[in-house]
């Protein structure tokens, strides 16, 4: 089929240069896929016209699932009939994105037969993205995927596919088992993942330490970031070794310590752990000399999202220190309480972070039964508009009266 490739002078420019070319990928796929051939033509057209040629997707999917497929239709179906439908299938990746080649090959085989042959490894939420197929292929694809042990990920107003850094599998800093937690939550929340019933999407991301290698703090409704409570473990000899090899501790480490809690006298590195912020910087610079403490766990944060529509949010502290112990019942219970109030009072398309801001964090905590603590705020309020909730009345000076 290769000789049938449409002329793509613009796109061809993107086959030049050292970085792997997605155009070459589409061309490779086009060898065995008419859809990919048409995609080439359509994309060349977009490159000429400086505009996309896709329409709003309708609701397409597999039986009994409310998510996992993004419907997509081309606005030039007559000219590009093979991409008139071009739906993507989101396949839930294994935690940590580890694969055996046989599993991957099986996915490729399905996708060669039933789709464009194009993928994203992976989408930015973390799924395997199978890019472009027709409505009538969806059921067969789903059946074949489950047969090889894979299932669909989330889309729509549901729990989205959780993802995590590789954690304890290959990182010395993992303060809890991110992959175990991710797998467990994904399995526990299959119903919430496949049957959208929330006001909007809800994402989980798990990072093993404050370096946050899955960017959880910026793009997850629940961000679980590993940390420790006790002291940084210091190997003074190894510290000295680093300095001998040219590390300037004062300039490269201490000057950047946000806790201002380190001192170096040329021989001994002193850390005042009581004001260490667990930022990881010193450990990052001297991985052979410093290690997180032994009393490890995680900080649970809530509410980050992209800007649409009230402005972007980072997640904020919900539980400063949580000990993740399977089956994580405490966390799941908490999720239940959070979802309950959000489903009840959340507005359509209102993410949990926006919801908390609208109802007030104090009120939110009250509803979900969590004590307010100073770790949850950067600082207490600056404005004096306090909603005092009780007041005394003259008749009965001794008794408080609830304003509500």
């Amino acid at each position: 089929m290769a000789d049938k490739l449409p002329p793509t002078p613009k796109l061809d420019e993107l086959e030049k240069g050292p970085w792997p070319s997605f155009v070459s990928e589409i061309k490779m796929a086009a060898k065995s896929s008419l859809a990919s051939q048409d995609l080439l033509g359509l994309l060349e057209r977009s490159y000429n016209e400086k505009i996309g040629h896709w329409k709003h997707g309708g609701i397409v999917g597999v039986l009994g699932y409310g998510g996992g497929v993004i419907g997509r239709y081309c606005d030039l179906p007559a000219e590009f009939p093979n991409v008139s439908h071009f739906h993507t299938v989101r396949v839930n990746q294994p935690a940590g994105w580890y694969y055996k080649t046989d599993a991957l090959r099986k996915i490729c085989d399905i996708w060669e037969k039933r789709g464009s042959g194009l993928t994203n490894m992976h989408g930015s939420t973390g799924d395997i993205i199978l890019l472009g197929t027709r409505t009538d292929e969806l059921e067969p694809i789903f059946a074949e995927l489950t047969a090889i042990g894979f299932d669909l990920g989330g889309s729509g107003s549901d729990v989205r596919t959780p993802s995590c850094c590789l954690g304890k599998s290959r990182c010395e800093w993992a303060c809890y088992d991110t992959m175990a937690l991710t797998h467990d939550l994904t399995q526990s929340f299959q119903d919430e993942l496949h049957r959208p019933a929330f006001p909007y999407k809800f994402k989980f991301k798990m990072s093993g330490c404050p370096n946050d290698c899955v960017a959880s703090v910026a793009r997850a409704d629940i961000s679980i970031i590993g940390t420790w409570r006790d002291n940084i473990r210091v190997n003074q000899d190894a510290v000295l070794e680093y300095t001998k090899n040219g590390l300037n501790i004062q300039k490269e480490v201490i000057a950047f310590c946000p806790g201002k809690c380190m001192e170096w006298d040329g021989k001994q590195l002193d850390i005042d752990n009581s004001t260490c912020r667990r930022c990881m910087h010193c450990i990052n610079v001297m991985p052979k000399a410093l290690r997180p403490g032994k009393d490890t766990g995680a900080t649970v944060l809530i509410g980050s999202k992209a800007p649409i529509i009230e402005g972007a949010l980072l997640s904020s502290v919900l539980i400063p220190f949580w000990k993740p112990v399977a089956p994580y019942t405490d966390l799941k219970d908490l999720m239940g309480r959070i979802w309950e109030i959000w489903c009840e009072e959340g507005k359509n398309r209102e993410r949990i972070g926006e919801f908390i801001q609208r109802m007030g964090m104090g009120n939110f905590l009250e509803t979900i039964g969590v004590e307010p603590i100073p770790e949850m705020v950067a600082h207490p309020r600056e404005n004096p508009y306090v909603f005092y909730e009780e007041y005394l009345v003259e008749d009965d000076e001794e008794e408080g009266q609830d304003k509500n």
């Binding site: 490159y47 304890k168 010395e172």
Partner: protein
Amino acid sequence: MPEPTRKRVTDIGPPHYEQFLPPAIKENYGKWLYHEFVKPGVLMHVSESGAKLFTVRAGGSRLMSIQKIRMICDLADKYCGGYLRFTSRHNIEFMFTDPTQIDPLIADLAKIGHPVGGTGRSITSIVHTQGWVHCHSAATDASGIVKSVMDGVIEHFTHSDLPAKCRIALACCLNMCGAVHCSDIAILGIHRRPPKIDHANLKKTCEIPNVSASCPTAAIRPGTVDGMPSVVVEEDRCMFCANCYTVCPSMKLNDPLNDGVSIWVGGKVSNARHEPMFSKLAIPYLPNNPPRWPEVTDAIINIINVWKGHARKNERLGEWIERIGWPRFFQMTGIQFEKLHIDDFKHAGLTFKRSAHLMF
């Protein structure tokens, strides 16, 4: 608590990761002691047991054909006993215990066009989204810009030669699927023309009250146009969020003449040193200039070079700017500061300079 759901056989969830872990990882799970950079793109992790694991990280084009995946599988079979992984930034990692395999693998990767790098003080793959390849919302393409930029900065992928990590991300519209809002450098597809309304079809395709309600600035109100019930947009008030288009296809924002990209800088996600930060607007508009978006590529290379030339070791782009101040950033990069840089959304006042801490 919500009960784990097993009501339909369908909900099997993803395969358990354990079956996909290389033996060396299974054995040393949770026992890693420290790591070293062997060379750019190659890590060595050392376990309490003394075991050493080598990782070779290859740059991925996230948009991959099954053909390429199979080639990669071939390499994983050849060098890694059939195991491999992908990273949170869409790179491909090969892991094994025999260091003599490093160079042959790198050579084989080169043959199929995949450079090795992205570790340490480097630029790694650009997190990005769909663009004209798949999304109806896109104000620009994703893969094309990403390819062009990566070609331009590849030396910082293959060499760990920067003051600190530099994370670039691209989103093709304000929905910001890549969560680009906390990147060292973010490339953002933008619209600049208020919705072109398809009055003939609007009533058929959309609920007029929903359309008006969708606009956060209340720029949209119901109105009769050419005798047809439709909506009217007060163009001054449009901030190009495309929320109306999300709820109604007849409110088209995509526009070849005016769409383009803006560049944002100084965000970060890690807690290392400085707390996570949002990216800030550096360049309000650059044109869509396919296939290689030279204006975008040049702008990014310029920013990186200025940062590389002046930052202290360990200073992420945003940390450096915070130290030297935004006025100097604009001055050093030659970027023109203008009205559009000044926030005018709801927390705008909090971004004003409310002190006399100035540098001259």
